[in-house]
């Protein structure tokens, strides 16, 4: 009984402390209660979203990213660095609140947008977990007069039109680069005609932003080669290392007639899963895996692992992060009307022999 009472007391204390802490943080920013709908007043910033923060000395930006991964951590850090630099040049300070939506949790993403609005954020950088929710998010930001810039995956309406500026590489073309690379690699080794070679497309049908990567890879691969469709297979997973391994291993076991595989994966989880499954089956030496994303593969190559991953479509998250920071600052402080266009950074195919010369960091 005493334990129960003590536990209840601790919980109550923690809650009280967190309330005090939240109250303290709000001193410089907007108040959550100032939400437009409940106040009865017209939203203060409805007139426009550009240049609303020009007169502020302390700026606050939110970076909301779809999943906890090194890639997004790097992108967020780079955006933060760029914002701090730009603000310092204007005699201001900028703070950056980096948050992730767990494992692509849509609800959490919306909650963070609400929090950013309530927190009086000067701008939001967003890598959205599901592009279908773009309109809802952009409308929220517009109503609150807060500019938003997308990183990696554009924010689109139901017709597929871009509704906010975006920076990155579009998923379809990035996948396309990997497809092109693998097609050339296969042709150089006469694997297209080789009846003992299968093509495995490791799809992630549950992750909407990765679907175009697979489609792009597939389309480009077939633009270049006439690889027989009857030797092409789809292995679907959620893109995690363990589930991708299971999917790849099952596909390899299902087709023992192949002693080599060409594998296109939409992310590095797929690459890791496929590389380990090929190694377990003893087929890694003559097979080729190509993936989108490079953060984890680089470490594995350093350790002499995953050598069946022949190349990765690398788009520098540092560059993308810095570009998003630049755009949001231009919109919020400089009052620039940045068009709802896609601002791309170059995609580079990294290979074990060349990646050190090509890798760009923050």
């Amino acid at each position: 009984m005493k334990m129960k009472r003590a536990f209840a007391l601790i919980i109550a204390l923690l809650m009280a402390l967190s309330l005090v802490a939240c109250g303290g943080e709000k001193s410089g920013g907007g108040t959550p209660d100032a939400a437009p709908s409940g106040s009865g007043e017209a939203p203060a910033k409805k007139a426009g979203i550009y240049g609303n923060s020009a007169d502020k000395d302390a700026l606050l930006y939110y970076g909301i990213y779809k999943v906890e991964a090194s890639y997004f951590a790097n992108e967020g850090n780079s955006a933060k660095k760029k914002l701090e630099e730009l603000a310092a040049a204007d005699g201001k300070t900028a703070s950056f609140n980096y948050v992730t939506c767990g494992n692509e949790d849509v609800q959490l993403c919306i909650n963070y947008v609400d929090t950013a609005i309530a927190d009086g954020a000067d701008g939001i950088l967003m890598c959205i977990p599901d592009q279908q929710m773009s309109t809802a998010i952009v409308e929220k930001c517009e109503a609150a007069g807060i500019p938003i810039v997308a990183g990696d995956d554009p924010l689109i309406d139901l017709e597929g039109n871009q509704i906010a500026p975006a920076c990155g590489i579009d998923a379809y073309n990035c996948g396309g680069e990997t497809g092109k690379w693998l097609a050339n690699w296969a042709q150089e080794r006469n694997l297209v005609e080789d009846e003992k070679c299968g093509l495995m497309i490791m799809t992630m049908s549950m992750v909407s932003s990765c679907v175009p990567r697979s489609t792009g890879a597939y389309d480009r691969f077939y633009e270049i080669t006439n690889f027989p469709k009857e030797r092409t297979y789809e292995a679907d997973s959620d893109g995690n290392y363990d589930t991708a391994y299971d999917a790849a291993a099952a596909m390899i076991a299902a087709h023992p007639e192949y002693d080599k595989w060409l594998v296109l994966t939409a992310n590095e989880g797929g690459a890791g899963g496929a590389a380990n499954a090929l190694e377990a089956a003893g087929l890694d030496e003559n097979s080729g895996v190509v993936s989108v994303g490079f953060s984890d593969t680089m470490d594995q190559w350093e350790n002499g692992k995953w050598l069946s991953v022949r190349a990765c479509g690398f788009f520098s998250e540092f560059e993308i992060g810095a570009l998003t920071g630049e755009k949001i600052y231009a919109m919020s402080v400089k009052g620039e009307e940045v068009p709802n266009e896609y601002f791309g950074v170059g995609a580079v195919m990294m290979e074990p022999e060349t990646w050190k010369d090509l890798y760009i960091t923050g």
Partner: protein, 334 residues
């Protein structure tokens, strides 16, 4: 006459529930082998066993806990944390055996923490382990700063990948799983500790009156599931050459489904290890079969849900039957 009748009665070495799972398992193999003859290949059977390793280790712990009438929602997080943290320790130059020792020690503490919340504070095990689930998933991200940790240690890779009898042999981690199931099964059916689990899970009040220390038994079981989850996480990290903080999502759901399918009653006091093992195999065979048939992942979720629904239906039906039989038995004795 009565004696003669009982002599003729067929006594099977497995329960009716297990027979149903076996039939279902055979059905799964027949259907998927018809769709793809390689489903029955040695390579694929090995794949199914490898994929079942992680769920299997957790299922051993869940069998004990659910039979006690408790549960643990944290194994996926414990496994992810263990995989990542062992990688972090290795990166810092800690020798692999010591790193694994540290992981196991943390697992023991985790089990004690969960048990404390349940037995001392009086929280429901769902809530208590939900707390741990959240804490350990968060810690898994914190210790690696959200980054995947590359692992190249030969001992850990060996734990994850080495096979008995060369490249096409049975992986040692699968052998370890089978061994663990057998030992856990013997403990459950042949020892005082195992019988105590049945007693406490079946009728906690009667067990208390009989002098059984329910809290002590629960503590051991909470520790066991944490340790088994961590072992699974370390094996996975070795197999993937990486500690991934986002891995093992939904692992507890797979394990609980397997255990319930295997005939362990959610109301406690009923079940055994063979059933759980068959449940794990059934789920994994089903998932692998769907992948081989190039079915999208969505359907695997639906299939798992339906399997769980069927298993819970059977559980409810058999529980009711058991209660009816007990009532009839007590009426006869009156």
């Amino acid at each position: 006459m009565e004696k003669a009748k009982s002599k003729k009665k067929l006594v099977l070495p497995i329960t009716g529930n297990q027979l149903i799972i076996l039939v279902a398992l055979v059905g799964v193999f027949v259907v998927f082998t018809t769709l793809n003859k390689n489903f029955l290949s040695w390579m694929n059977v090995t794949n199914i066993l490898i994929a079942a390793t992680l769920t299997g280790f957790v299922a051993i712990g869940h069998t004990y806990l659910i039979m006690l009438g408790e549960n643990d929602l944290g194994p996926g997080s414990y496994a992810a944390f263990s995989g990542v943290f062992v990688g972090v320790l290795l990166q810092k130059g800690v020798p692999a055996p010591l790193a694994i020792g540290v992981i196991l020690a943390i697992a023991v503490l985790t089990g004690l923490f969960n048990s404390c919340m349940v037995t001392k504070i009086g929280l429901s095990s769902f809530i208590a382990t939900f707390i741990s689930q959240s804490i350990f998933r968060g810690l898994a991200y914190i210790v690696c700063n959200g980054n995947t940790i590359a692992i190249s240690d030969p001992l850990l890779s060996g734990i994850g990948k080495l096979r008995m009898g060369g490249n096409t042999g049975i992986p040692y981690n699968v052998i370890a799983l089978l061994f663990a199931f057998i030992v856990a099964g013997i403990i459950l059916s042949k020892t005082d500790f195992g019988r105590s689990i049945y007693a406490v899970g079946g009728n906690p009040e009667a067990a208390r009156l009989a002098g059984l220390k329910a809290n002590k038994i629960k503590t051991i079981c909470f520790v066991l599931i944490s340790v088994f989850s961590s072992i699974g996480g370390v094996i996975l990290a070795g197999r993937m050459n990486a500690g991934v903080p986002a891995s093992c999502l939904g692992l507890e759901f797979d394990s609980i489904t397997a255990v319930i399918i295997g005939g362990v009653s959610f109301s406690g006091g009923v079940g055994n290890m063979l059933g759980s093992f068959l449940g794990v195999l059934l789920i994994q065979s089903f998932n692998t079969g769907l992948t081989m048939a190039q079915v999208q992942t969505f359907w695997q979720y639906v299939a798992r849900g339906i399997l769980l629904l069927i298993a819970l239906g059977i559980d409810r039906y058999t529980t009711k039957n058991r209660q009816r039989e007990m009532l009839a038995e007590s009426m006869r004795n009156m």
